[in-house]
Structures are given as C-alpha cells and as structure tokens.
C-alpha cells in the first residue's frame, strides 16, 4: 500500500527549530564590522520641509554617516509601482504616486523617513537622530475621506488637481432596471476604519556589500524576496546575479511585508554599498505603527434591491477607499472589495464605483483579508437589514440566495484583483452553511436555549456568516525538486515563508509523489540563490500556486525515477512502486533500488550517456493558474454581552471551510485560528485612531489592543472538500479566510443579542465603548 501524505495531520517539520530558538531571523544576522541604522521620522503628518541640519549628528561620536534625500543625489528616486492599474479595464483613472527613500520636499504622513543615521551601534544612531535639526512648515492634514475630495481641500500631492488617486466603475447586468422591479430597496452607509497587521516580528534588513566579490547580500523580512532582488539590482545598477536576497524565518507577514519597496529597503542596501560596510536596521514597534503599511479604511454607500420573497435582484455599492499618502499597490484592495461585495450569492445585477483617496496617513496595502472583509461586511450587513425588513429568518434569506452547486463555474462578469475575469471555479455552498448550522446547533439554540437565556436577562446572540475568498491567483510560482545521493530530497521554491508551514505542507506533496518520509524532504524558501523565479507569498496563494509547482516538479522527478529504475531493475515502469525511499518491483519486494543509488546512477562521474540526457533526478517546474481559485466558508458564533460593561464572551465559535483539497488539517486549522484572531481584532479591539491632524494616537500595544489568548474562543473547525478545477492538487487558498467574515458575524451576533433594541451596526471596528455609545444613541432616538 502506497503511503498517503496529502491530507494527513503531519506535525510541522520546522517547529523544533522555531521552538528551541534555532531558527534564523533577520535580527540574528551578525557580520563583523556591521553598522546600525536609525531613521529620523516626521512628527508632522503634513508639512513642507524647509531645511535639515545634520552637522551635529555627523559630529556625534560613533556616527559613521548621516544621509538625507540630497545626499542620495541621482540615486534618489521613488520606489517602483508595485501593482499597475488593470490594462484592460476601460475608463480607469489612476494617478501613480510612489513612496520616496527619504523625504525631499514635503512630508506626507507622520512617521515618514527624513534622514538616516548610520553608527557603530543602534544606541548611538538613535541618540544622533535627536541631534538633527529640521525646520518644517506645518500644513493642514488631509484625514477624512469625504473632506479630502472636496474642491477646497488641501492637497497631499500638489501636482494633482485633487486628492483622487484612482477611480473605477464595474457593473454586471443592469442594476437600475433591477431596482425598478424590486419590492424593497434598502440603502445604508457603512464605515470601516483602519487596523494594523501587528506581526509579532517587525520589519528588518541587513545589507552586506562585499566589494571584493562585487556581491550584495540582503536579509530582508519580505514576503517577496525575488522582486526585491530584481528591483534592488536595477536600482543599484548591478546584475541580478550580483544580488542575493534571503528572506529567512519571519515572525508573521500578513501582507504589509509584501509592500515593495519600503523606504528602508531603498536606503539600507544603498548605504551599505556606499559605505562598503554591512548595515542592519531593525524596525521598532513604534516605527511599525507608522512606517509599516495598514489597511481597511473605506466608506460605502450601499443599496440592495430585493423581491418580497427575499431574492436579491441587485446590489449597488459606491465606495471610497483610503490609500494613505501614496498608492504603490494599485487597485488590489478596492478590486478585492468589489470581488467580495456579492459574497457567495447569486446576484445578477451589480453596479459599483470606487474612488481611491490620498490622505496624510500611513500607506495602505493589503493586510490579511485585503479588501475582502469590507466586501463581506457590506453584503452581510445588507442581508441582515433585508431579513429584518422582510421579517425573514437570517438563515433562510441567505440560503435562498446562495449560488447553487450546478451553477459552477460561476462567472461574475467583472474583473478581480489580478485583472482576470472573476469566476468562482467550484463549490457546494449550501452544504457548507448547513454543516456550520449543524455544528453550532443553530435551530436548537434559537428555539430552546435562547428564549430561556433571555428570560434570565442574558444578552446572548447567535450569528452565521457565509463568505467567499478569492485565492491562489497567478501569475506563477516555480519549484525545483532534487533527489540527492543520500536518498533525501531537496526542494527549492521562490516564495518566502512567514509561518505558513511550507516546510511541512510542501514536503507532504513531495513525499507522496516520491515515496519518502515527510522529514526526508528539505524545503528551501525565500533565498534567491536557491531559486530565482517567482513573485511572492500573498493572496492566499502559497499552497495553491507554489504547492502545485512543487507537485508538478515532483511528478516529473517521479517519472525520471521510474524510468531509470525500470532499466536498473529490468522491470516495466508500471510494475514499480515507490515506498520508504526505495523503488520496488510490486510483486517481488526484495528486488529494489534506493533513491540514493538511483541519484548516483543518474549523475555518473565517468562513462558515456545517451545524447540529450539530463543529469540527476531533478526537475524544475512552474505553475500558473488560468485564474484564481475561490474558496468558501461559513463561520457561526454564540456571543454573550455584559450589558453593563459591554465586555463580551464568545460561548461557541464554529468555522466550516471548503478550501478544496486539504493538504494538512493541522496547518489549516492553525491558519483559521490565526485568521479568526485578526478578525476579532478588526471587529472589537483593534482600531487605529488618527486625530484630525493625522496623528496616530494609539501607536503602542498599551493603547492598541491586539487580541490575546484571553480574548480567543475555542474554535471548532469543520471541513468540506470541493476540489478546485484549476489545478492538479485541487487546492484553494485559506490563508486569509479566517479573518474575512468575523466583523460581519460579530455585528450580526450583537444585533441578535440586543434583539429588543433597535441596534444596527454599520461600522467596524467596534469597541466596548463604542457599543455602549451606539446603544445609548439608539435609546435617545
């Protein structure tokens, strides 16, 4: 019997190293002669830079150099546009304004880097930063999205006519006609504010220029080492082969670490090369709050048209999206919001225009969820509003509108974040919803338990929120699989790892193909010397895109193994089986050869081989999907609120995910748990408070509450598997899934808990304080 590894609950290969402190992180890199950098950052959100005097800082003992924008000379130019606007869409307005290495003329958000001090130690560098004298002319800050678009608003970018960064319209069917047919039209304004990704490890870079070998090595906490390598080489006028970027173990990515290039990524390698000394910069937590990208700020004006029996006839959603001071990440987030605006529902008519707005706040790029939670929050809030207006059950109205299984592939006739047509490849949505209802005991709770709890004066609400997640988008990833003479397997792929368990899930894919144990497969990720084609870890695509590349490469190696073994064992290929690192003749198990022996035979030191022979048992393969696979899930919860303090207790939390083929349920559950914790933060704890001057008022963990163990519920995870039709593994992504429906679920549960009050939640994130205010507003109405 051939051993199966895919779908098995295999413990993670990487954990022993991580748990015993043996894993290398960027800050672990120590190089003799290494210098340390600290940045001077603006206290103002918006100000003209009148003058900088760095002379005292340069005199500071232990300081090696101080650089400003001027010192960079011709090497000073903005970062590259990371994502361009969709080339195929019509009538797209897009003004590309990219982040700069160091501010030259105008500060556009608090925390923007103005100068860098490079010194013998970080302590000295930080002290010398305080010796820099800067003269600012403070300007009024652009903070509010609607005010930003008023004609008389101050401009973030003086060369533009307004603060409009981009504008785009998409439609499907004919919303206005659908509206005419409707029995009910509901309008709402929905406001979503920013949160931080708050990865455990902040960003960091070490750059080492070796003048003798003319080679630059960069250790970077990036989710995209290969694009960083290519971009750095281009900026510094080096060949791509003179630059090696290593993204070692990273304590969480969550999206902001794929933003390219951060100011520090532009400055540190440049400084290291200029000084001919290794330079290290490790971001501190306060810098992380200002200088690492954030997400979620949107204002939606939504309208839903329904028939009396609860069928959605159409949806219209015009919204504003906050991109912060620059827009290097193009339209990814608002396009994702549009792609999720219709959830998993069969909506024939859709109309949506978004406007992207420049503000004097930290740059916005995707954070786990990346526009999807906003779309799901919008549609789910409208579903709840519709259910109440129509006097329908919250579950029934949802089930009535789900895309039926026979409708797949379901084409939405709009484009997604990858500019590909938005098509949901496969799914069985109702089955997932039913499973979640069943797991949480929805009917029993509503009919039997909740009435008693209410009599006892308890505020306990139940909620269910289905959602889609577009995942696994292109363009492509690759992998190289090699059987070594030891019989062990080495695999290299271009994507980086920030805790997703790639060292195990990819090893399982290989182990199943090649008949070896999972821990006999060594995985290398995020080192451009090991593999130098690829894009990065984002959009819930690692397992899908890189996973399928690993699968493709190992399938080819399997064929090579069988071909060679067939010769060696003098048996036809179809009679051979791979198990325990051996190739055996199925009926004569003692007739076998090990993978290690085959690897040696495939790479002879002397003698002749057939022309056209490739050495070794090795293959490199790539995978690029036609379009992204779309996963589906449903979360359900029972939530109790203390009506005095507004503190909450989650009594039950159920998730059912259908992410196609499950590679490793243990890793998948970990992804879900992490996602839910971020979602809970987005719902009730984590809100970045900017004042009207663009000052972030809670830039520390004393004031910004990241969900901790005490807030986390026990999560019950269920799975259903509807294979993706777009790749051989049948996999769909799940990295962001956990975070997506939580605010929508939370809002529904709160309204259900306070069913006797006219509470309607149209904003996120909430807090105990804000809930108290909303309930009091309702009382005074």
């Amino acid at each position: 019997m051939i051993k199966k590894f895919i779908g098995k609950r295999v413990m993670r290969n990487e954990d022993p190293r991580l748990l015993t402190g043996q894993a290398q992180f960027v800050d672990d890199v120590e190089i003799p002669g290494m210098l340390h950098a600290a940045f001077l950052r603006s206290d103002y959100a918006h100000a003209r830079l009148l003058s900088i005097d760095v002379s005292a800082a340069r005199q500071h003992p232990g300081v090696v150099a101080v650089f400003t924008a001027e010192d960079m000379g011709d090497d000073w130019f903005p970062g590259p546009p990371l994502v361009s606007p969709p080339p195929t869409a019509k009538d797209v307005t897009f003004h590309s304004r990219r982040q700069v290495p160091l501010v030259k003329d105008k500060v556009r958000h608090a925390g923007e880097a103005i100068a860098v001090v490079i010194a013998e130690s970080r302590y000295i560098a930080e002290d010398a930063v305080e010796d820099i004298l800067v003269e600012f002319e403070p300007l009024e800050a652009v903070v509010d999205l609607e005010k930003a678009l008023e004609v008389n608003s101050v401009l973030v970018h003086d060369d533009l006519e307004s603060n409009l960064a981009a504008q785009m319209f998409q439609q499907k069917g004919d919303y206005e006609a659908a509206r005419q047919q409707a029995d009910l039209v509901i309008q709402r304004r929905i406001v979503i504010e920013r949160g931080a990704a708050a990865a455990m490890e902040n960003r960091g870079i070490v750059a080492h220029w070796d003048a003798k070998s003319q080679h630059l090595t960069i250790w970077d906490t990036t989710q995209a080492p290969i694009p960083i390598r290519n971009g750095t080489a281009a900026r510094l006028g080096l060949s791509e082969h003179q630059v090696r970027v290593i993204a070692p173990f990273i304590g969480g990515g969550f999206g902001p670490k794929i933003m390219m290039f951060y100011a520090e990524e532009l400055v540190i390698p440049w400084a290291a090369k200029k000084l001919n000394r290794p330079v290290k910069w490790i971001e501190d937590r306060r810098e992380n709050f200002y200088a690492t990208t954030q997400e979620r700020g949107q204002v939606h004006d939504v309208e839903i048209a329904l028939s009396r029996d609860g069928h959605i006839l159409g949806l219209k959603d015009n919204f504003l999206h906050d991109t912060g001071a620059y827009d290097p990440y193009g339209l990814t987030i608002p396009l994702n919001t549009q792609s999720h605006d219709m959830g998993g529902y069969d909506i024939k008519n859709y109309s949506s225009e978004f406007k992207v707005v420049f503000t004097n706040k930290t740059i916005v790029t995707p954070v786990r969820g990346a526009g999807r939670p906003q779309g799901i929050f919008v549609i789910e809030r409208m579903m709840d509003a519709a259910a109440k207006e129509l006097g329908m059950d919250a579950v029934e109205i949802r089930k009535r509108n789900l895309i039926p299984p026979e409708a797949f592939p379901y084409e939405h006739k709009i484009i997604d974040q990858a500019f590909a047509p938005l098509i949901f490849d496969s799914g069985n949505y109702k089955a997932v919803v039913d499973k979640a209802l069943d797991m949480i005991g929805y009917d029993k709770f509503v009919k039997e338990e909740q009435p008693h709890l209410r009599v006892d004066g308890k505020y306990v609400g139940i909620a269910i929120a289905p959602f889609v997640e577009t995942t696994g988008v292109g363009p492509y990833e690759g992998a190289r699989v090699t059987v070594e003479a030891s019989g062990k397997i080495n695999v290299a792929t271009g994507i980086g790892t920030q805790g997703q368990g790639h060292f195990t899930s990819f090893a399982q894919i290989v182990a199943e193909q090649l008949g070896v144990e999972v821990n006999d497969v060594r995985i290398v990720t995020g080192d451009t010397t090991e593999f130098h084609w690829g894009t990065g870890t984002f959009a819930s695509r690692g397992a899908v895109v890189a996973g399928n590349a690993v699968h493709a490469a190992s399938s080819i190696v399997r064929k090579k193994i069988l071909k060679l073994a067939s010769k060696v064992l003098e048996a036809p290929e179809d009679e051979l089986e791979l198990e325990d690192g051996q190739v055996r003749v199925a009926d004569i198990p003692q007739k076998s050869v090990s993978l290690g022996e085959l690897a040696v035979l495939a790479n002879p030191l002397r003698g002749a081989v057939e022309p056209g022979t490739e050495p070794g048992l090795e293959s490199t393969a790539y995978f690029g999907p036609q379009y992204g696979a779309t996963a589906f899930g449903t979360h359900a919860m029972i939530l109790e609120v203390d009506p005095e303090t507004m503190m909450i207790k989650i009594r039950r939390y159920v998730t059912v995910e259908d992410c196609g083929t499950v590679l490793n349920p243990l890793i998948l559950e970990g992804q879900i748990h992490g996602g839910v914790s971020m979602g809970l933060g987005n719902a009730y704890y984590e809100k970045l408070h900017f004042d009207e001057n663009g000052q972030l008022l809670n830039a520390s963990f004393a004031d910004y509450l990241v969900v901790s163990a005490t807030e986390m519920p026990r999560i019950e995870v269920g799975h259903l598997e509807t294979r993706s039709t777009l790749n051989e593994l049948g996999a769909k992504g799940v990295g962001e899934a956990g975070a997506i429906p939580v605010p929508a679920l939370f809002a529904q549960a709160l309204e259900n808990a306070f069913h006797d009050r006219k509470l309607e939640i149209l904003e996120m994130p909430l807090s105990p304080n804000r809930l108290f205010e909303l309930l009091n507003e309702e009382k005074s109405r």
Binding site: Y44, E130, N693, Q695, N698, S700, A702
Partner: protein, 149 residues
Amino acid sequence: MKLEGEYTFDGTREDVWKMVRDPQVLATCVPGTQNLRMTGENEYEGEIQVRIGPIAGTFSGRLLVANEVPPVSCTLTVEGTGKVGFLKGRGDVALSEQGASQTLMKYTGEVQIGGKVASVGQRLFDTVSKSMIKQGLDKLNEILKTSLA
C-alpha cells in the same frame, strides 16, 4: 484636545492679574519650566520639561498673550517643539470677582499634539495636563497668599 476648567484664587482680581503677568512668578509655578524669558511686551520664550507616562522631554517654544483686557481676560497662544514631538495650543482665560477677596479663573482652550507625545502619550495627556494645570494654579495661589499675608 479640549482643556477646560476653573480655579478660585484667594486674592483680588488685580492681584491675580499682576501675578499672572509676571514671568518670574509664572516660571516658578508652571511645573517643569526651566526658563521663561520676556522677549516682547506680550511675548515669552522658554523651555519646559514634560513627562507623560513613558515619554519625557524638553519642549522649547513661545507664549503669546493677546486680546488683553486687564484685569479681566486674555488669550494665550503656546507653541512648542522638542525631541518627543510638538504641541500647539490656544486658550482663553477670564477672571471674575468672587466676593471681596476671591477671584474665579475660568479657562477654555484647545491643544494639538504630535509625534511621540501623541502616539504614545495621548492616553495620559489629558490627565497629565490637568494635573499640571492644577499644580501650577495651586502654586500660584500659595504665592499669592504669601504675598498678601
């Protein structure tokens, strides 16, 4: 952020006014003031040491007195910058007689803060500024009482 409050002095309005307009007196009363120099008829410059929770640093800046109606009211404008951020404020102060020997001071104002003071100190700024004002006014009142005794 808004600041608002009142304080009763044990002295006549004229006495309070005189004291408030004396930079030497003010410098000894405003907590953390390291230096306060009169640079014009209604203009002062100086340095003040502030500690807000984990944030401590020196602000140097200007204080302007305007709209003066002795001994009834005036408007104060403050601007300061330092290594821990910046602050900008404007406040109206009004004195009214409270019986023969007491004076009621009412003040309202707005303060803008930025940098580390805002991002890390914001939560405590309100409490710290209130307690600094209270300390300062208590000290003023003590000086006033001593001078009148």
